[in-house]
């Protein structure tokens, strides 16, 4: 098992409040790992730490690159981490609202392209080729998430489910090895959730990605994930396969309540 994301004893304090408490987590190559827990357990805080938005109080986070070398994530700015190969979506959708669907995806290509001010003004052949490349690859990603017919539509005109898919396409545009999805199925109806499940599997299989997802929809979590981590009050209280988690008494007590799916 080759790890892609390795987190050791991560802790995050906000003033006197300990939001994350010595959390350890690993995602291996090709896995879909779910992070579940009640609201306020610290799941999004974890994402924010790992992607560089927050600086953790203690602990270490590593991303393994394509050659298998460990890169320390602590202290690095978000855009560096993204360039290293880890991309995310947001719990509350953060699209570039006034820009078109295609343009939203194209921003994801920013860290994989190079043209600068000089190229923009002079518009030499290499710049033009890079731009056209970017446009075409972005369109391909829209086809992947089945949004291609909306390519010239303003992003905030899209229906909610489509916006979530757009966020995923945008994250994919950065060519990540590790994809973090923050409640991708939130607010979706069962049919949309099913389509999303198919999309996530498809992405994992065909794009050589590893996926870490935060989700509340237990049906989706149980059927999709290879492993699950359960959080409560900032700590990890259980980890294992879906079957193990489903029967773990501590988890049931803290979170699942009535047995589900």
């Amino acid at each position: 098992m080759n790890p892609v994301l390795e987190v050791k004893d991560l802790s995050q304090d906000f003033g006197g409040l300990r939001a994350l408490n010595e959390l350890s987590l690993t995602v291996n190559q090709g896995e879909i790992v779910a992070l579940i827990g009640p609201n306020g357990a610290g799941k999004t805080t974890f994402f924010n730490c790992v992607t560089g938005i927050y600086t953790p109080t203690e602990g270490q986070m590593f991303l393994h690159d394509a050659k298998g070398e460990k890169q320390l994530l602590n202290g690095k700015k978000p855009h560096i981490i993204t360039a290293m190969g880890m991309a995310r979506t947001f719990q509350n959708i953060r699209l570039f609202n006034e820009m078109t669907v295609l343009e939203n995806v194209m921003i994801g290509r920013h860290c994989r392209t190079k043209a600068g001010i000089f190229g923009a003004i002079v518009r030499d052949a290499r710049t033009r080729k890079e731009e056209q490349d970017c446009i075409d690859r972005s369109y391909e990603l829209l086809e992947l998430v089945k949004l291609q017919e909306f390519w010239n539509e303003t992003a905030n005109n899209l229906p909610y489910g489509a916006q979530r898919r757009l966020e995923i396409a945008r994250a994919m545009a950065t060519e990540p090895r590790m994809l973090l999805l923050d409640e991708p199925a939130a607010g979706m109806n069962p049919q949309e959730t099913n389509e999303l499940k198919e999309l996530v599997c498809h992405i994992r299989d065909h794009q050589q990605l590893s996926i870490l997802l935060i989700e509340h929809d237990m049906g989706m979590v149980m059927s999709l994930s290879d492993r699950i981590y359960v959080m409560e009050y900032g700590s990890c209280i259980a980890t294992g396969t879906p079957a193990e988690i489903r029967t773990n008494p501590r988890v049931i007590k803290a979170y699942l309540g009535e047995s589900d799916a």
Partner: protein, 407 residues
């Protein structure tokens, strides 16, 4: 009926509100008071009408109906779209514009040419500010400082070292960019309102420094006898020189428009716009926002620097009072009026705001009053500006070369 009552109450309210300031005129010498009830009544009538219109506008806005629909067949959006789509129309329009602009100095007076030069300089300024405010969404209130830096670069380098116009043009641009970066760097983490105030402070500090540093900058007296740009060493009288400067500025504006359009429709431009939309998402998607923000400041400020050098050459005399906050506010209102990020809109807005007062002499006293009012009204009723929703055109391989455009 309800509306009329509301309007009447509004009129009465404003009449009472403005009673002291509008209604009382003190004659200090004679120690007497003049009651100007005529002005109050005029205001009351005006407010009554205005309140009715205001109310009507708000009702339409709430219902989602466009407030101003021009007469049938005269849809502004359609006209612009027609220009963009049909090549013949576009070339014809540009040709007409070229004839008008190039031929202008021949048929106009010296005074009118000067006004056009002024207007074109403001177009450059507005376009420059548009990069920072319109594209990148960084609200900068002290932009006129860069204009001042450009102008004083030429003025002082000429005074102390005898450098000419053509030498100072690139130097002015370069120095302005340095200041732009100098301003951008400390304000990287600041949010909208705070950023605005800090840049305002920056603008004022530059002006105050120019005003107080008598030994170097000449203080309130400024710098005079700045030479006009030379044309292969020919000496020209003032009319010829002004015509020359006009063509110079026209060329500068055209270059500005071309360069900025290219910047906007490029990877850099896309990053600027993403920065405006959502900084955090932008950074999460791999964009180095520090670099992009600094680029915005540098790219935006350099045009003001160039314009400043030309301004100094045109007026041959500069002093700090030309570079007040009011100027910054005016340039900002051009960007706001034109539509944030829209190049055509900003050009049109700048021309309107500078040329209209010239041709509506009766209102010249009220010019600044109208500026303020326009800024408020635009924000209330059309925050997106004159021209908005422009789309860049993309050719997508998968669609066999289909083009984008307005949807």
């Amino acid at each position: 009926m309800q509306r009329i009552l509301k309007a009447a109450i509004a009129a009465l309210w404003f009449m009472l509100l403005t009673l002291p300031v509008l209604g009382i005129k003190l004659n200090v010498a004679a120690k007497s008071v003049i009651w100007r009830f005529d002005r109050i009544l005029a205001l009351g009538a005006g407010i009554f009408v205005l309140a009715l219109i205001w109310d009507w506008c708000f009702t339409r806005k709430a219902a989602g109906i466009k407030i101003v629909t021009l007469p049938a067949g005269f849809n502004l959006a359609e006209i612009i779209e027609a220009f963009r789509n049909r090549r013949g129309l576009r070339l014809g329009g540009l040709a007409l514009l070229a004839v008008v602009l190039l031929g202008m100095p021949m048929v106009s007076s010296f005074y009118q040419t000067n006004i056009m030069i002024s207007a074109l300089l403001y177009v450059m300024l507005a376009l420059g500010l548009n990069i920072v405010v319109g594209l990148a969404g960084q609200l900068v209130l002290g932009y006129v400082a860069f204009y001042a830096i450009g102008a004083y670069t030429y003025g002082l380098l000429n005074q102390y070292f005898g450098l000419g116009f053509w030498a100072c043009l690139p130097i002015g641009g370069f120095l302005t960019v340095l200041f732009g970066l100098g301003l951008g760097f400390p304000v990287l983490r600041l949010r909208g309102d705070y950023l605005a105030i800090v840049t305002l402070g920056f603008g004022e500090i530059v002006r105050l420094t120019l005003q107080n540093w008598n030994s170097v900058t000449g203080g309130p007296r400024g710098v005079s006898d700045i030479p006009r740009p030379g044309f292969f060493g020919m000496s020209m009288d003032i009319t010829a020189s002004t015509t020359y400067i006009y063509y110079l500025v026209l060329a500068a504006v055209i270059i500005t428009i071309v360069v900025i359009t290219r910047l906007k429709n490029s990877r850099v431009g896309l990053a600027l716009q993403a920065l405006r939309e959502d900084e955090i998402a932008c950074e999460a998607m791999g964009v180095d926002i520090t670099r992009v923000k600094l680029s915005a400041f540098a790219l935006g400020s350099c045009w003001a620097g160039f314009a400043g050098v030309i301004f100094a050459a045109k007026t041959t005399y500069i002093n700090p009072s030309s570079f007040t906050f009011m100027e910054s506010a005016m340039i900002l209102s051009m960007v706001v009026l034109g539509g944030m990020g829209s190049i055509a809109g900003v050009v049109i807005a700048a021309l309107i705001l500078i040329l209209a007062p010239e041709y509506l002499r009766a209102f010249s006293d009220y010019r600044m009053l109208l500026f303020g009012a326009i800024m408020v009204i635009m924000m209330l009723f059309r925050p997106q500006g004159l021209i908005s929703g422009e789309r860049r055109r993309y050719r997508i391989g998968a669609l066999h070369g289909a083009e984008g455009g307005r949807s």
